[in-house]
């Protein structure tokens, strides 16, 4: 079997045994998910690269010192390290940024379609703005699950691991997030159609 087809657990074992190329495969395999997770919290590419780098430095040190516990899965473990480093970053900067859109990047701008005419584009922009405001109105736990599921494409198992709750709780939060979004939309007579 080619080395890049091996499971994470096998690659980790090989890396611990001294096969350096296994680390490269693990990083390339999971870089998008982990970097996307960090970027969803810190909207700054340079800072994200720093956190990503620090995350894997911790991973490397843990693996090389034989302190890795194979009971857990690799990605949720790396995500937890990244999550803790993101929290450290915000603690250091003494401010928690709740504004998720910046000039550089807006998750909702990804909805735009180049074939839209100017009028539809304006309508779409308004919908995106409304939706981003509405999502900010949700309770923290529900917003967290919704953003992880919709923007970061994490599975409910991964969300449950990261937030320290059961899968059923994560599913319940997602359900309530959507119910609450509908309530807010109905209450404010917002029209989210194009």
């Amino acid at each position: 079997m080619a080395i890049n087809e091996l499971s994470d657990a096998v690659l980790i074992r090989k890396y611990i045994q001294g096969e350096e190329s296994a680390l490269g495969i693990l990083i390339v395999r999971h870089q998008s998910k982990i970097y996307g997770f960090i970027y969803s919290k810190i909207k700054d590419k340079d800072l994200c690269d720093d956190v990503f780098q620090d995350t894997f430095i911790k991973v490397i040190k843990t693996l090389k010192s034989n302190s890795y516990n194979e009971e857990g899965k690799f990605v949720p473990w790396v995500m937890r390290i990244a999550h803790n480093l993101v929290i450290d970053h915000f603690r250091k900067s003494k401010k928690m940024r709740f504004q998720r859109d910046t000039d550089e990047y807006s998750v909702f701008s990804l909805l735009s379609d180049s074939s839209l005419n100017a009028e539809n584009q304006i309508i779409l922009d308004q919908i995106e703005l409304d939706l981003s405001i509405i999502i900010e109105e949700l309770p923290q736990d529900q917003r967290e699950v919704l953003v992880m599921r919709m923007h970061q494409d994490l599975s409910f198992k991964e969300i449950a691991d990261l937030t320290g709750v059961s899968i059923n709780t994560a599913l319940g939060r997602m359900r309530y997030a959507i119910i609450n979004l509908r309530k807010i939309i109905a209450k404010n007579n917002i029209v989210l159609t194009n």
């Binding site: 680390l23 490269g24 990503f52 780098q53 894997f56 490397i60 040190k61 090389k64 919709m150 494409d153």
Partner: protein, 47 residues
């Protein structure tokens, strides 16, 4: 609204770290060795 949510474009944009970052990590990994002696752990970075 359900239609807006279901658009996979939301998660389809791949966010990737810089190549330099990955290159640094791979070089760092190659250079690093950790030796445990009792309750102490020593890190060595090879030049």
């Amino acid at each position: 609204m359900a239609k807006l949510y279901s658009q996979k474009k939301l998660a389809s944009q791949k966010m990737l770290p810089k190549k330099e970052t990955i290159s640094f990590l791979l070089h760092y990994s190659k250079a690093l060795s950790i030796i445990k002696a009792g309750k102490f752990s020593f890190e060595f970075i090879a030049n």
